[in-house]
Amino acid sequence: MDLQQKNKLLYTRAGFGISLNDFDNPQPIDKAVRGLFPKATPGRLEMITEEDWAENNPKALKSVVDEMQRKEMAKEFRERTRDMNLLWMQAMVSSDFPLLEKTTLFWHGHFATHLDNPYFDQKLLNELRTNALGNFGDLLRAVSKSPAMLQFLNNQQNKKQHPNENFAREVMELFTLGRGHYTEDDIKEAARAFTGWAFDEYGDFIFREKQHDDGEKKFLGKTGNFNGDDVLNIILEQKQTAIFITQKIYQYFVSDEKVNEKHVKELAHNFYKNNYAIDTLLHDIFTADWFYNDAVIGAKIKSPVELLVGYQRLLPMQFNNDKTIINLQRILGQYLFNPPNVAGWPGGTNWIDSSSLVIRMRLPEALFMSKELNLSLKETDAEMMGMHHNPVAIDTQAAKPFRVGKVDLDWSNYIAHWKQYKKEELPHALADYLLAKSISDRQFSEVCGFADNDSIDEYIKSLTILFMELPEYQLA
């Protein structure tokens, strides 16, 4: 693999694709990898202020006497999660440190919540971004104490006399150890330790001492008056936590299907030794010899968000309709802040079925040539809830037609770059840049057969779109 291909692989996996500049000016890997990590803590993404929350939290809404008005306010507030969604997408598109956003996206699926509370969503997202490349222990603690997680996993209902095991169970099964590495008794005891973990009306973590069961507990072979923090520490002391997290990170950044046990074991060992430093783990992966191997190229299917951010990083775009990106996420099966369940998005070949593949292949024409997609979306919970206060003559259509709408594109820089090449060089040059894997000669001639030869500009545009419509474009 030459240096340019290595850089392409790195920026594709550690971000959302390689820029034309980075592609033309490949760097030594050590240097490129160091440049992936931001020097400063990222700024917060804020769409919803404390004041907004003060006006729209359940307690405040109760004081709104008019029921219709209350429901309308609640509905409007819920929809602000879409604003959060777009804000984060924008951050992914414009970031100079896409590794931060890509890793946050990983944690967003790992610590999956599905609420109708944009303020809590926002808080959790900011915790994820702050700790995404930091320390897993810190991240775990921040997430476990976030109102989003406490609410989603019902820890508000976890009280001394009536423990609710949901939170303890998911923390161990999905967030740290994985199934089979704890017993049902461990869950019961952990649940007791987490009693009293709650949040107040401001969305801040509080510890309700009266609800806390401070008796002796037996957890993962240890005995003591454990509280929630103690339980998290004991979980982190288990090497299995390092193995479980490392395996997931490996699958996310390296390979959907083939997991090299030896590499994972080595990485996990170091991850544990380095006290769960996420940046070091990622550094290890991206500087490993085995990473820059033909077997790794094309070993991942791009997630919907990766695909959509990738398009936008390639060509600056303005969507006339805010909802376009949201609807594209939904139709492709990755609606941010709306994972299918607490296990997040399964990923890999799960992204692809007959309809999603064809939609992905039609997207370039829809986005770049304003071709209509003519599709309908299934309804979401939010919409179902939002239809409440529409009592008369309801349009009971379950599926909503979906329009991509007008997209303003700026091809100028892109075309100027490729005009530097001779026409006969363009197919191979564009394929090298756009596709993870090379295609056969026969495929080249097929693609070129469909290209628009009217002008060099149209040739570049049409080739770009044709390459993006190949199934190979779905691979990273």
Binding site: D353, L375, K378, M384, M385, V392, A399
Partner: protein, 380 residues
């Protein structure tokens, strides 16, 4: 040599007797079972629903104890003809009252403490195609995107919202050209993508060709459910090899002013079913078709302050058509005075219903699809 998976619909899978079909109608949003099958002799029903309770005189009588919602006139007719079996109290242990979670549980055919990423019909496809190729339009969802229910571990069904649109989208020249050399791509993921592309264009061709075989003379309502059932009817009558059809209708999430919405949705469903059944009967296919309805949960016994109901638990399932052995009300509605925090307690696990349909109608091994053995029922 052309690999197996390329031969599309040229290869015939294990056929079902009479080329029978299963039509699954998902009532999305949580349909209120108690205002569907109405316990009009039960005082508690009226006490709990002073405004939205359906009066005995309004309901269409089925038995001495229960009636059916007056907007389901056609189903009532079929019931009188002995072609309907109604199973009550269908739910599952530790019910979840979140739309997306409970719908996942029903679609994946799993328990509330499991997180399964495949669906029961998808796994049916996996199992019945073992070792052989079967084209993915064996199970067809009439929608633009594919539900979890239709995604197997290995195979995924086809989603088609509109046959002509699907055909023109999937069959464009460029895609067809790309798919024609799919066998060159054997490497892992590229292979999977090309295989999917090939199956999609093949399915699009097949379904489009099938849809041209039979031009129905039956008038179907011009509603979304009407159009979807028209597609289903046409394909069944054309003798398509599709074994399972999946269609959604809704939303039944009636937190406010339940009557308006539920009535309207039921009317649409009822009219569309009337058209479908008439079409099937005209063409001698009614006995080869089993139609089933389900919802991700029922609703609470007591109405709320907005003349609606909130998310609940167990509810009823309808079975219509061929092979009904025990027509009528299969079992009682769960007791209204032995509730689980205001909700009905389930008496039939939905996986038992699935097992019955899988074993008896689809003639497959329910155990391998559902992961465990569930004792079946004998309504078919």
């Amino acid at each position: 040599m052309v690999p197996q998976f390329l031969r599309g619909f040229e290869f015939s899978p294990k056929p079902l007797p009479g080329n029978r079909a299963l039509v699954i109608i998902q009532l999305s949003g949580g349909n209120d079972g108690l205002n569907t099958i109405i316990p009009y002799r039960n005082d508690l029903y009226y006490k709990s629903r002073p405004q939205i309770g359906i009066k005995k005189e309004s309901a269409l009588a089925l038995t001495d104890d229960v009636g059916i919602n007056p907007s389901l006139k056609f189903i009532k007719q079929l019931y009188d003809d002995g072609k309907v079996s109604i199973i009550n109290g269908v739910g599952y242990p530790h019910p979840n009252r979140s739309h997306f979670r409970s719908m996942d549980i029903w679609q994946s055919g799993s328990s509330s403490d499991e997180l399964i990423t495949s669906g029961w019909i998808g796994r049916y496809l996996d199992g019945s195609a073992k070792g052989k190729h079967m084209h993915n339009s064996m199970a067809l969802e009439v929608d633009d995107t594919l539900s979890l229910a239709m995604k197997g571990e290995e195979r995924k069904a086809i989603a088609v919202g509109d046959i002509s649109q699907f055909y023109s989208a999937a069959s464009n020249n460029y895609f067809k050209t790309l798919g024609s050399h799919a066998e060159e791509h054997d490497a892992q993921l590229a292979g999977y993508l090309y295989k999917t592309l090939c199956e999609t264009t093949s399915a699009a061709d097949y379904i489009y060709a099938q849809s041209k075989i039979y031009a129905t003379t039956q008038t179907y309502p011009d509603t979304q459910i009407g159009k979807r059932l028209k597609t289903v009817g046409s394909l069944i009558i054309s003798n398509a090899e599709t074994q399972v059809y999946y269609v959604s209708h809704g939303s039944f999430d009636t937190h406010v002013n339940q009557k308006n919405r539920q009535d309207k949705l039921f009317e649409q469903l009822d009219d569309s079913l009337a058209a479908l059944v008439a079409d099937l009967k005209k063409n001698g296919r009614f006995d080869d078709v089993l139609i089933m309805t389900f919802s991700e949960f029922g609703r609470r016994v007591t109405q709320n302050a907005s003349n609606g109901t909130d998310h609940g638990t167990a509810s009823s399932m309808f079975f219509i058509g061929g092979g009904i052995k025990k027509a009528g009300i299969y079992n009682d509605i769960p007791s209204l005075d032995d509730l689980d925090e205001g909700d009905l307690k389930y008496t039939v696990d939905f996986k038992q219903v699935y097992a019955t349909v899988l074993d008896k109608w689809l003639q497959t091994d329910a155990r391998s699809v559902l992961g465990k053995k569930y004792s079946g029922l004998d309504f078919i």
